[in-house]
């Protein structure tokens, strides 16, 4: 029987990936390190600021899982939640250098930077990316996008930097979210109410078919855990996807923005069908 991963909250997801009984939460809700910027803007804060950091073992090896809670502020990244992400990655890098190789798993259910903390959120996303780059040279950083919210904005850049990216069919990945594109470029460019069209472009099936994500899994705890274990087991590649600039540039060059291919044809256009 399938056991849904995405229906768990962020804490439940983080513990579910780790070996049973090995997880310990860092900087948890009782530390009460919440965002200081929300209450003055009439928004109720959450005690963990929507990011859950759990250290433990993954198939016997040291790992940290960082989960973003999509139910709180749409998984938006603020100053505190972003620094929790960045610091957890930095500490994993420090431990890895000190002889305790520690891989990281990011559960990326997020609309990107939290608007109420605009510039501070952007600054912390830069810190997250910087810490991710530091760690991925030493140990794998595996991203998981399970759905339905998806991973957008600044955090989609972090997703692009991951050693491996695991998605479900329900997951979505894009730099700008559908509503942002519609409001900036018009409904003719992108109709944010057309779910079939959105998933045909941003959805996990399309992202893995076209090689922008690596593994497509069902929304099931056991399936996602084994995909994560396999990804961590592959170790650090000689070259990450985001370093293959020439290859990515060639993909862009193969698409004519004035006459773009249909989503279903894109994998073939890119020779990845």
């Amino acid at each position: 029987m399938r056991f849904s991963f995405i229906e768990l909250d962020a804490r439940g997801r983080a513990f579910a990936l780790l070996d049973g009984g090995t997880g310990g939460e860092l900087c948890g809700p009782f530390e009460r390190i919440e965002s200081p910027w929300l209450e003055p803007q009439d928004v109720v804060p959450q005690s963990d600021d929507g990011v859950v950091v759990v250290r433990g073992k993954l198939d016997g090896r040291s790992a940290v899982v960082i989960g973003i809670e999509q139910a709180f502020q749409g998984g938006g990244i603020g100053e505190v939640s972003g620094m929790k992400l960045a610091t957890a990655l930095s500490l994993a890098a420090r431990d890895s250098r000190a002889g305790v190789p520690t891989a990281a798993v990011l559960l990326l259910e997020t609309g990107g930077v939290r608007l109420q903390e605009a510039n501070l959120g952007l600054a912390t996303v830069a810190e997250v990316c910087s810490a991710l780059l530091e760690l991925r040279a030493l140990q794998p950083v595996v991203g998981v996008i399970a759905g339905m919210l998806g991973c957008f904005g600044g955090m989609s850049i972090a997703a692009g930097l991951c050693t491996e990216l695991i998605m479900t069919r329900e997951g979505r990945l894009g730099l700008d979210g559908p509503q942002v594109i519609e409001s900036e470029a018009g409904v003719a460019e992108f109709d944010a109410s057309d779910h079939t069209m959105i998933w045909s472009i941003d959805g996990g099936t399309q992202r893995t078919r076209t090689g922008l994500a690596d593994v497509l899994v069902p929304d099931d705890v056991a399936a996602i855990r084994s995909a994560v274990i396999e990804a961590v087991g592959c170790g650090v590649p000689a070259e990450h996807r985001s370093q293959r600039i020439g290859e990515l540039g060639a993909l862009l060059a193969a698409v004519d923005p004035a006459d773009p291919p249909k989503p279903g044809d894109l994998a073939a256009v890119w020779g990845r069908g």
């Binding site: 909250d9 939460e25 948890g28 809700p29 009782f30 009460r32 209450e39 009439d42 928004v43 109720v44 804060p45 959450q46 005690s47 809670e69 139910a71 709180f72």
Partner: protein, 101 residues
């Protein structure tokens, strides 16, 4: 957003602290910490203004039945009275379970 504070008589100290829920739409987060004897102290931060009386009635009813002497911090994002009561019960149950934080 509105902050409300309540106190209710209580005489049952919980075994340990408990954390349940998310401050997401229609839900709330509850942090429960063993507190001074004889009182349940509740701080509510809610996204919806003007429901002071409803909060008082819901909490009064809960603490009349579960006389848990603890501090309760509720971060609420528009949960209905039924959801509030369920989350409080869940927190009390978790505080009695073996091995939780």
């Amino acid at each position: 957003m509105q902050t409300l504070n309540f106190e209710f008589p209580a005489d049952r100290p919980p075994a340990r602290r408990a954390h349940v829920g998310v401050a997401g739409s229609g839900d709330l987060e509850v942090l429960m910490t063993p507190g001074p004897a004889g009182v349940a102290r509740v701080r509510v931060r809610t996204s919806v203004d003007g429901f002071d009386t409803v909060w008082r009635v819901v909490l009064e009813r809960f603490f009349a039945r579960h006389r848990v002497a603890a501090g309760f911090e509720l971060n609420d994002s528009g949960a209905t009275p039924g959801v509030v009561t369920l989350r409080l019960r869940q927190a009390v149950e978790e505080s009695m379970e073996e091995g939780s934080a």
